[in-house]
C-alpha cells in the first residue's frame, strides 16, 4: 500500500488505516466543528488587534 501511495501524484497527507480509524477521525472533526460553531463569538472576540 505504501509503495502505491508513494507513486501517486497527489498522495494523502493523512491516512487513517482501518474502518474504525476513519470513523474516529470523522467524529473528531465533527466535534471540533461543533465546538467552533457553538463558541464562534467567544473565540472570535479573542482576536489580536494589531491596531
Amino acid at each position: 500500500m505504501l509503495v502505491e501511495i508513494a507513486a501517486e501524484r497527489k498522495p494523502p497527507l493523512h491516512l487513517p488505516v482501518g474502518a474504525d480509524a476513519v470513523q474516529l477521525v470523522e467524529q473528531h472533526h465533527n466535534s471540533v466543528l461543533n465546538d467552533i460553531k457553538a463558541w464562534r463569538a467567544k473565540s472570535s472576540n479573542t482576536a489580536f488587534n494589531a491596531g
Partner: protein, 130 residues
C-alpha cells in the same frame, strides 16, 4: 482537590523510542531528499497521535509529537523545493494485515525489500552528509 503527579517523560520512556526513531531515520534520509528535491516520508504514528485516550497520556503525547514533527518538517522542506506532497501521516487503528500485502505470495517481502534497498541506498549516500 487531590494531588496531581506527573512523571518525567523523556527518552528513557519506551513511548518515546518510536518518536526518536522517526526523527533519526528522517534525519538520515533528508540529505538525499534535499539533493534530489523530491522524496516521500511516511511517518507511522497512531490514532493515539490524533485523539487522546484515557490511560494513554504518555503514549498519546509521544504520537502527537510525531504528528507535529512531520507537519512542521513538511513546511520546512518546501524551502528545498520539496512540496507538500512529500509526506503522509499514517494513522493506524485496527486494520487488516493485508494492507502490508499477502505474505503467502511474497508481495509483502518484495515490498519490504524495496523499502529496505531504498533506505540502505539513502543512508549510505547520506553518511553524515547532512
Amino acid at each position: 482537590m487531590g494531588e496531581i503527579t506527573v512523571s518525567v517523560v523523556g527518552s528513557k520512556n519506551p513511548n518515546w523510542f518510536d518518536t526518536h526513531g522517526v526523527m533519526n531515520v528522517t534525519r538520515a534520509v533528508l540529505p538525499v531528499m534535499r539533493r534530489q528535491r523530491s522524496g516521500h516520508l511516511f511517518t507511522i504514528a497512531s490514532m493515539g497521535g490524533y485523539l487522546g485516550g484515557s490511560r494513554g497520556t504518555a503514549y498519546a503525547a509521544s504520537k502527537f509529537a510525531v504528528a507535529g514533527f512531520t507537519e512542521s518538517l513538511a513546511l520546512e522542506l518546501e524551502e528545498f523545493g520539496i512540496t507538500d506532497n512529500c509526506r503522509t501521516r499514517i494513522l493506524p487503528h485496527r486494520f487488516s494485515r493485508q494492507v502490508l500485502g499477502d505474505s503467502r505470495t511474497g508481495d509483502a517481502h518484495r515490498g519490504l525489500s524495496r523499502v529496505k534497498c531504498a533506505f540502505r541506498a539513502a543512508t549510505e549516500t547520506a553518511n553524515h552528509a547532512q
